[in-house]
């Protein structure tokens, strides 16, 4: 059975990744699963300087979903390289560094700092709804998506993935902007913006008022975005958003995703990513599919 897939020049041993921000830097989950079994790890969003993030509360459960407002708390790219990357490099899996700049220049600096061994790809995060500077404000402007992608591609020797937000009217325009900027792949979706109100105080639950919705609640939205984006570009698409079972993952692949990332479901089940991979293998056996690539974009419409 062949599970290998390609994202640009990068070969992944299988199509199951874990989504940025839901898996830290891998250490915690290594007590539950063998990180070698993952196709790749998209690490927590990295900023040029350490970032403390938003005041609590940062999470709120909604029907079949969660709203989060972490605000990119992370130790900064330098500490990541020094303290976190060596651990990840002990494993035979691909390391995808998720980067979040407040300005185009910061994206460039981040990409330069990450031109090092042990980092396999960059995921440009222009889609975080929880920060004031940068984040989603770039992701809802096709010109910014294009410009950031282009600048990062110019300085980076890594596979460059652009992570898109679903909070736009027409995802195809943004997918195309990333491709035109030279992206090797796109990933989607980041969280859907939402809010919650405490009816006793009549205040928004979150200090930032809006937060990002993830989990099963957003899966149909994500699937539609992946399907549409795939039809707008010829580069690979990494699909995510609510994936909680092998069946979910297969839907994304059939809709056009070359690989999938498991996010919120890691919280529900710390072995979830591997269970999903096993489920994909079983499906392939049952249906006599010997190469996982046969599944990609195999939708009958």
């Amino acid at each position: 059975m062949n599970l290998k897939i390609n994202i640009g020049n990068l070969e992944l041993k299988n199509p199951v990744l874990v989504a940025s921000g839901t898996f830290g830097f891998g250490k915690e989950y290594s007590h539950y699963i063998d990180l070698d079994d993952l196709g790749g790890i998209m690490v927590k969003g990295l900023t040029l300087y350490p970032k403390e993030g938003n005041p609590p509360p940062r999470i709120y459960e909604t029907p079949s979903g969660i709203l989060n407002s972490v605000g990119l708390q992370n130790p900064g790219v330098d500490v990541f390289i020094k303290d976190e990357l060596p651990f990840l490099n002990r494993f035979n899996t691909k390391v995808i560094a998720n980067i979040a700049g407040e300005t185009i220049e910061e994206f460039v600096s981040l990409a330069q700092k990450l031109n090092i061994d042990g980092v396999d790809a960059l995921e440009i995060n222009v889609s975080c709804p929880n920060v004031k500077e940068g984040g989603m404000s770039f992701g809802v402007d096709p010109n910014s998506v294009y410009a950031i992608t282009k600048k990062v591609k110019q300085v980076s020797n890594k596979t460059v993935i652009v992570k898109l937000t679903p909070n736009v009217t027409d995802i195809k325009i943004y997918a195309k902007a990333a491709e035109d900027g030279g992206a090797d792949a796109i990933s989607l979706i980041n969280t859907v913006t939402g809010m919650a109100i405490d009816i006793n105080t009549r205040r928004p639950v979150f200090k930032n008022v809006f937060a990002g919705l993830s989990g099963p609640a957003i899966k149909p939205i994500a699937l539609k975005n992946v399907y549409e984006a795939k039809r707008a570009v010829s580069i690979p698409v990494i699909g995510m958003g609510g994936i909680s079972s092998a069946e979910d993952a297969l839907e994304f692949m059939i809709a056009g995703a070359t690989a999938v990332a498991v996010g919120t479901y890691n919280f529900i089940s710390p072995t979830g990513s591997i269970d999903i991979l096993e489920g994909i293998k079983k499906y392939m056996l049952r249906n006599s599919i010997f190469d996982v690539n046969q599944l990609i974009n195999s939708i009958n419409v």
């Binding site: 830290g24 972490v70 890691n266 919280f267 529900i268």
Partner: protein, 243 residues
Amino acid sequence: MRYVVRENREITNGIYRLRLEFDGIPTPGQFIMINCGGNTLLKRPFSICDHDADEIAIVYRIKGKGTYNLSKVKALDTLEVTGPHGHGFDMFDKFNNILIVGGGIGIPPLLFLSKKLKSKNLKIALGFKSDVFLVDEFKKYGDVVIATEDGNTGIKGYVIDVMKGEIKDIDMIYGCGPMQMLKAVKDMAEEYDVPCQISVEEHMGCGIGACMVCACKTKTDSGFQYKKVCKDGPVFWSREVVF
């Protein structure tokens, strides 16, 4: 991991004690995460209230749908559980006169702690709204004083008022309870210059230190830092915590 429930019963109004087969080795102050089923998504955190050879107990209050579902679980049902998680209470040989302060549903982890510290001189101050629970078990390990808001049992008032009378000659304080209580405990510990650890709560995602949603504001030399309640805590030195 799936574990078998051995008992789940109401011990007082809306408060339940659940005993569960368990093969981990917890320390006091650590917690488990339980998938409460139904239409809940995230697992819920519960402090470990007791531990014996192959079993743990938690004591919980019905708050919303997760704890409501949990209250319907029966002996021999199984639950999906992870843990033990987190950094619990630090215990020190050098300290002999210990004050334990608990309020409401923050009380359960202090029972496990008291059991581990039973060879010490323990003063235990417990505060409840009205109905009391676990009191007889605490009495096995130390002197117990009780405050209830309505005067139902013990002194009428707050646990912090009781604590004041007990703080003389104390080497170390441990506290768990509602935020206002913890703040008062912290303030009093600082006033009397007694080292103090408190267990704090925050809403959680992963429960294992990966997602950064369980932030607790702590003091540092250069300002402040958000630490993780699930991994760095839930127990912190009270001096560190910024309320």
